[in-house]
Symmetry: C2
Subunit: 558 residues, 2 copies
Amino acid sequence: MSSSRVSSSPVSTGKSGPVDTVTTGPIEGSVKHYEQVEADGTILNVPVRRINLTNGEHFDVYDTSGPYTDATATIDLEAGLPKLRDAWDKPQVDGPPTQLNWARQGIVTKEMAYIAAREGVSPELVRDEVAAGRAVIPANHRHPESEPMIIGKKFAVKINANIGNSAVSSSIAEEVEKMVWATRWGADTIMDLSTGKNIHETREWILRNSPVPVGTVPIYQALEKVNGDPTKLTWEIYRDTVIEQAEQGVDYMTVHAGVLLRYVPLAAKRVTGIVSRGGSIMAAWCLAHHQESFLYTNFAELCEILAKYDITFSLGDGLRPGSIADANDEAQFAELRTLGELTKIAKSYGVQVMIEGPGHVPMHKIVENVRLEEELCEEAPFYTLGPLATDIAPAYDHITSAIGAAIIAQAGTAMLCYVTPKEHLGLPNRDDVKVGVITYKIAAHSADLAKQHPRAQDRDNALSKARFEFRWTDQFNLSLDPDTAREYHDETLPAEPAKTAHFCSMCGPKFCSMRISQDVRDYAEKHGLTDVNAIEAGMAEKSAEFADAGNKVYLPVV
Amino acid sequence: MSSSRVSSSPVSTGKSGPVDTVTTGPIEGSVKHYEQVEADGTILNVPVRRINLTNGEHFDVYDTSGPYTDATATIDLEAGLPKLRDAWDKPQVDGPPTQLNWARQGIVTKEMAYIAAREGVSPELVRDEVAAGRAVIPANHRHPESEPMIIGKKFAVKINANIGNSAVSSSIAEEVEKMVWATRWGADTIMDLSTGKNIHETREWILRNSPVPVGTVPIYQALEKVNGDPTKLTWEIYRDTVIEQAEQGVDYMTVHAGVLLRYVPLAAKRVTGIVSRGGSIMAAWCLAHHQESFLYTNFAELCEILAKYDITFSLGDGLRPGSIADANDEAQFAELRTLGELTKIAKSYGVQVMIEGPGHVPMHKIVENVRLEEELCEEAPFYTLGPLATDIAPAYDHITSAIGAAIIAQAGTAMLCYVTPKEHLGLPNRDDVKVGVITYKIAAHSADLAKQHPRAQDRDNALSKARFEFRWTDQFNLSLDPDTAREYHDETLPAEPAKTAHFCSMCGPKFCSMRISQDVRDYAEKHGLTDVNAIEAGMAEKSAEFADAGNKVYLPVV
């Protein structure tokens, strides 16, 4: 077991100092482990995080953190991560070489084999789901550093963490560390939403060092190129920005091509209008020019570009509701119908597609969103932002949205975009990123449990067993955030013996139900009292015996 | 508007120093306001928290905080709160004078009239629901300081905060302040779960100063009287403890009378056995004596005692699941059937009843708990602890459980027992109490929205409108936790002008969708473009006009 919590590894970049340090070393109680999987004669090293338990067993969990948590890896931010996927072949295929086309033509790629091992499913299931468009593998040919992962409702629910600076705050160094930090705690993808200076350079640093797929919203950079005036945007500026980002290796792109001119007035009546940045930019453009969105009218050309790199569309919901009052309204669902049309077009070009969803939705209106998305968009993976189940708790919107996120994921949403405590208030810092990621791991895992996803409950069982057996260290290490669990425990009972004590400060020794309950179980098991018939038949006798033994198991711990 | 955030009012108690200070003064941006309601010639002063908005309007919210947030009130902890309900008549009735009996016999009590005003419903609805046993009003005649409230599925979902010291930690002073603090942020009831020294004295201080109903688990104090050895408990010791607490004014009592001898082996096979403290104590007693639980065999006498004071039963779920693996199992539902029998008996004595529920339940098994409880227990109000939707996030169990709590409340649970970040790890401190309360207000309010409870969405709408109009101060003050919302905003944009700025640090000025969206709306409204037909008919013309105006609304904010 590692003795360090979080070590910061100083890295000299040699360049004009954008990145100084990132967090390296394993999470407390864990080690990086690679499962070796054979695929067509190639050995794939599929990472897991191995949690070593005090009883000599171990428990492996899905690992998004890349080489940063591998104690044996050398991290060189300037060189970037090893280009893992460059060594893998790209089979010949009819049409552009995308995972969708490979899957349709019966080819199980290395990416699919790798994913099957990560998810604990068959490579054929992966191929089937990708071929049907029910799952996507965001993997730009030019981002070979990424470890393949899949987004689809038959697989573990994934989470995305947004990072990126704004004009007001944060540096490149901070953003790269946020990426490393977010994936350390479980982010399956990250989106770089930078809008300030150095967008290109920030993204380059992130891509070369990211072990997970990276998404962007190209309209943000395009807008910077026209000095922030949406009316000055053109298709040509946008297209060139997409190509620039495609060449860098962006794995999926949010495109708000469903915000049509005729939908804009639908949003005017709302309590909170248009709350998507991309949506409001395109609405402004459409209205100013009284023309149909250039994203919509040039969609076919966009598909050709994305197909070349195997970039996945994330069709943006520019008219998503920004308040409970606006949920499931005409504007939102009109756009969703258009996204359904665009899904068909994109897939006809061999491009993988996922669909973005709300936003702010009260609980009783959540499931309808999934039903309609699946109906209109051929079950393309749904990727939602929360949704927040109420508007009244700024500073706690990671929680208001985790409620909605868990419910919408249970209903079939494949990936959840996290929300941090700073939502609606400011740009998240490193601590906020961690809280957002952990909160969304909770929502995603709760949904995996509810969907009875294979292997999901194993971790709950392992942790609960450790809890019941007072293996405190194992309880901490099996949790989503060992550091905080340990810290909270130690606030009141810091000494080392408390790590094996059969109680905690919550109830104290005399009132520990777990302790009493264990005594009861031990007694019942010893005497074969494990069902109702047994106890009714034999309890009188056993009770006498138990009394003879001096009721020892019930003596209070003093 | 108050200028202070949280002021601590030093209070000299004169006694052997158990309580020094409690938090007084209104929440930022609010003032205490009383609505005067006439009931049978008596004027009732029903409190609301009035949030004054910067646009000259105000917004009133349900207020649980008692006189502590009234800037004009004098707080004297030694004297206790004013004995509000002592001045109210107790009408003659057949049988013991309980709210249940009054309601059954067609009498609308002052408590019911007061509650109707708080909830914004008719007094008849309150009476009907209490008469049917679908709602309870926990109000011991000997706790006249409490402001009446109701727990039932047709009313706003309530939350309970547990406080109380354990043998390991915390003092009386801390516990009284935790009560004041919890009700400040919205706790509708509190439970004093003290198990250490000075149980009686702690409870006395809490009761005399609590504006909300107080619940206890009498078996905890009974166990202290036998030095922590469950096998030494007797009916007589327990009964005397109940009477002692009844005389002090406890409003509802958790009684684990459904843990029967024959159910104990059912729990032995579980991953986490028995996790209820009361449940494990009674299981130990039953097994040691091989006798049926003395709570069950003496239940009728217990009903007579509770009826006399109008104490509400909270029939405890001693066999609730303590892990995902144990949810909805035979042990849990066997006990629930027994609680159904006990509900009928208690009601036949005129005693009000609510039913406690789990615990740890994966999302797909939550609704079944409500369905079965309603079927077996004549729709007595359900009062659940979370449930946690996963076991794998100790230190975040306020969140894991808020997910389950929101879902179970949507399905009909009337009161949610909060869970703090310290659950499973240690005793919560003051900050943990606040986080627990706010988190549960989120779950309760999300359920109120989903149930389309009258008035619930008004607050979301008011806050969202403030957000869209960049009334930052109003957005903070309308939120569940104005202090933290303001603090998070000010972390990146602390200056006063930022409080009226049309952006925040999250997106910066150029990318503020709210700002662009407002411009779009203003333009559309000005030109009558509020539906699809209008835009299709007239947009070409309007667009030309808009271009003539220089596209002003889209000029970037520099």
